[in-house]
């Protein structure tokens, strides 16, 4: 008798536990879908990228204090842009897994225009009233061609040049940032200055890598020229026809031929080590790069770096947006949070934390930004240097597979750094760029 009883009891327990599990999961579903509608506690996930993140920690605390029903969780700090974007693309396409608020980088938001139906149109939550809070070209980038508001601008890259004043001094070059800026009204004069530096200092290189140099030069030349890079505004691949791409490429190979590049692959371990060991004297500096330098070079290099005006006329590289995927269960709350984080106040806070330059004219004019100096960079007036160019910029249009084509072109520049012929590599750039953009 005992055996069958035990069996039956086991069966009863099994059935009971299955039932409990089923109810428990059902409850879980109920509560989460309830909270989407009612004012129950809501957890919002914010996805960001980059070694330094977006500098939102204080803003989260403040938002949580003002909205007791909202908890905020951030993911992605420390994740590189490439990995982040791959994951986000999969999550958006699959329609699940993405955060409630996601960061969209300038070069990748274009790719999401095609998937605009997977994002909440922020105009539905009153975003159009905020148009005046953003630089006109930044607002335009965050809006799809048919007028849906895909993302609200966080920061812009702007453009400057960061340099090691101690190395400049040792090489007999001026160290004052005004005088340094006066050394290079054009990129050709920048290369000439580099040659002077190289003649005096055999131990250090003038520029970190060809690719950073190239990206900055391309965005500047394209901003003043055609207004687009590898793709024209109808998304046709024009890498072989756009004179701006060729000009930027030629300037870069000229810089490499002059022996100025440290040949470091950007964002690699060697590149990071280059900051720590101080192996190069200058780096092209969008505003967000100041955070990277501070993070990588560390306290040991505090006061050695300074910021001067970049050669040429202004320019922009990078900058992001915040969007809300349709997969979010709390679209209204997420849209409100995105509006808060991209408000002038939110942008000023992010600027203070990680140096991301605001995309809001009000924030740029705010004394907290305009009059700010950066202690790490020898008290350079970063607000003045970066904000100067940002408001008058013309946007550069980037096509849907911009990152893939850019990687292909960057690789050919690395090959030139490794000693391959610049002419052959330009042909390879055209061929591989076309294959990558197919």
């Amino acid at each position: 008798m005992s055996v069958p009883t035990r069996r039956r009891r086991f069966a009863a327990i099994a059935i009971a536990s299955v039932a409990v599990l089923a109810t428990a999961t059902a409850c879980g579903d109920d509560s989460s879908s309830d909270s989407g509608k009612s004012d129950g506690p809501v957890t919002l996930v914010v996805d960001v990228f980059g070694d330094q993140g977006f500098g939102y920690d204080e803003l989260y605390k403040q938002y949580e204090a003002d909205h007791p029903n909202v908890k905020i969780q951030e993911r992605g700090k420390g994740l590189g842009l490439g990995d982040y974007n791959t994951r986000l693309t999969q999550q958006i396409t699959a329609g699940s897994g993405a955060g409630d608020v996601v960061a969209l980088e300038e070069g990748t938001i274009v790719q999401f225009y095609a998937q605009a139906d997977k994002f909440v149109n922020l105009a539905d939550y009153g975003a159009n009233d905020l148009k005046g809070n953003f630089l006109p070209w930044k607002w335009e980038q965050g809006t799809t061609p048919d007028g849906k508001v895909l993302g609200l601008g966080t920061d812009v890259g702007s453009m400057a040049l960061c340099y090691r004043s101690d190395l400049f001094k040792a090489a007999g070059l001026p160290t004052d940032r005004e005088q340094v800026g006066a050394l290079w009204p054009t990129w050709d004069q920048f290369i000439a200055t580099g040659q002077k530096f190289a003649a005096a200092d055999k131990k250090h290189k003038f520029v970190d890598s060809a690719t950073n140099f190239y990206n900055v030069v391309l965005m500047q030349i394209a901003g003043q020229g055609t207004g687009y890079t590898y793709y024209d505004k109808s998304n046709k691949l024009v890498i072989d026809q756009n004179p701006d791409v060729k000009s930027a490429y030629d300037l870069t190979t000229k810089m490499i031929a002059a022996g100025l590049s440290n040949n470091l692959q950007s964002f690699s371990n060697e590149w990071n080590a280059g900051f720590k060991n101080g192996t190069f004297a200058t780096i092209a500096c969008p505003a967000w790069m100041t955070g990277v330098i501070k993070g990588q070079a560390g306290d040991a290099a505090a006061g050695k770096w300074d910021i001067a005006k970049a050669p040429g006329n202004g320019g922009n590289w990078g900058g992001s947006f915040l969007g809300v995927p349709k997969s979010s269960k709390h679209q209204k709350e997420a849209a409100e949070l995105a509006k808060f984080l991209t408000s002038a106040k939110g942008q000023i806070e992010a600027f203070k934390k990680v140096g991301n330059l605001p995309s809001s004219p009000q924030a740029l004019a705010d004394p907290a930004v305009a009059d700010s100096t950066n202690d790490y960079f020898s008290k350079a007036p970063v607000g003045k240097i970066f904000a100067a160019g940002a408001s008058e910029l013309k946007p550069v249009y980037l096509g849907p597979k911009n990152n893939a084509v850019r990687t292909a072109v960057e690789n050919t520049l690395r090959a030139v750094e490794q000693g391959k012929s610049a002419e052959d590599q330009w042909q390879a750039a055209l061929k591989n760029g076309a294959a990558a953009g197919k």
């Binding site: 055996v3 490439g82 791959t86 790719q111 964002f267 597979k401 893939a404 690789n411």
Partner: protein, 325 residues
């Protein structure tokens, strides 16, 4: 079974009294006997269907389309992806050459070293267990860690190998710029990790070879070397085939080592000119950078065919090792 006994016991006395109960019992037993074996093996097939069969079928389907997250619609393109891949994609063939190059450069020395190592460990040694365990250690280290450490060893500016080359008066090598140098560096990573694993398998197989054969050969005057080539290797034939096929599958799917050989932007490109981009890296490049998911499906299927072909070739080659004699 106990339930049956229990049900059968009163049946002797009161067969007529409880016919309904009994019939229900037997039919349940019959159902139990008939279907429960299937239930027992069901979990495997469910998991296989979800994680293997479905993805394979889906890959075949997606390879016939132009699926991409950038396209609003999916259209059926037939074999276009395969035609483009085979006739008009130099980057893919570059990846194939790299993969096979690194496969040969790593697998041949790997299996030879493993064989010799196993032979050495098969003799009477002091601290035998220590050595046998020591060669197995690399298997339990993470591939990513191995790749990161080897990338530092092969670093251009501050690397150990270049420092050593410099010390003996040779110029430093840019291990990522030169195609053969990068293949060599990556092969050493693979070999460091897998020689011990293969040696362990060979060692186990060697211990099952009868001692009588060696004694007979020794009596006939065969040297140690002759014994190795004429007894050990032929007796190991099935094991060698096994390790060859496993190495082929692993070698043609080489991914982590070459990916982590560079860090920073553009790792999937495998060097500035694709010097060490393998097929799996190219697959991910196509999928995640260029968003051509359909085309990536085609790359995956061609890789599958290549592995099947190579395994067959290896099998045929290995079968001849001893049958020629």
């Amino acid at each position: 079974m106990s339930l049956d006994l229990h049900a059968a016991a009163p049946a002797d006395g009161g067969r007529a009294a409880r016919p309904a109960h009994r019939r229900r019992g037997t039919s349940f037993t019959r159902l139990d006997l008939k279907y429960s074996p299937y239930l027992y093996i069901l979990p495997f097939f469910v998991i296989f269907a979800v994680f293997s069969a479905y993805p394979i079928a889906y890959t075949v389907w997606i390879a016939l389309t132009d699926r991409s997250p950038l396209n609003a619609t999916i259209s059926f393109v037939g074999l276009d992806n395969f035609v483009e891949l085979i006739t008009d994609d130099p980057q893919f063939w570059n990846a194939v050459v790299n993969t096979f190059g690194m496969f040969l450069l790593s697998t041949v020395p790997q299996l030879l070293m493993a064989l010799l190592l196993a032979n050495a460990l098969n003799r009477k040694l002091r601290a035998q267990t220590f050595f046998r365990m020591a060669i197995a250690m690399p298997i339990i280290t993470s591939t990513a860690v191995v790749a990161l450490i080897f990338s530092m060893i092969y670093a251009k500016d501050f690397g150990l190998v270049n420092w050593a080359l410099d010390a003996v008066g040779m110029g430093p090598i840019d291990w990522r710029a030169n195609r053969f140098a990068s293949w060599f560096a990556i092969s050493t990573m693979v070999d460091w990790r897998w020689v011990g694993y293969n040696a362990l398998i060979y060692l186990a197989a060697m211990q099952s070879i009868s001692k009588d054969m060696y004694e007979a050969a020794a009596l006939d005057g065969a040297s140690r070397r002759r014994q190795f080539w004429s007894i050990t290797v032929p007796q190991l034939r099935p094991t060698i085939i096994f390790t060859l096929i496993i190495s082929t599958i692993g070698g043609l799917q080489l991914f982590t080592e070459p990916l982590l050989f560079t860090s920073g932007a553009g790792g999937l490109s495998g060097g500035s000119e694709g010097q060490f981009q393998t097929i799996t890296m190219y697959l991910l490049d196509v999928m995640n950078q260029r968003f051509r998911w359909g085309y990536a499906g085609a790359v995956a299927l061609v890789l599958f065919v290549l592995i099947a072909l190579m395994s067959t070739v290896n099998y045929l080659l290995a079968r001849r090792i001893s049958s020629d004699k």
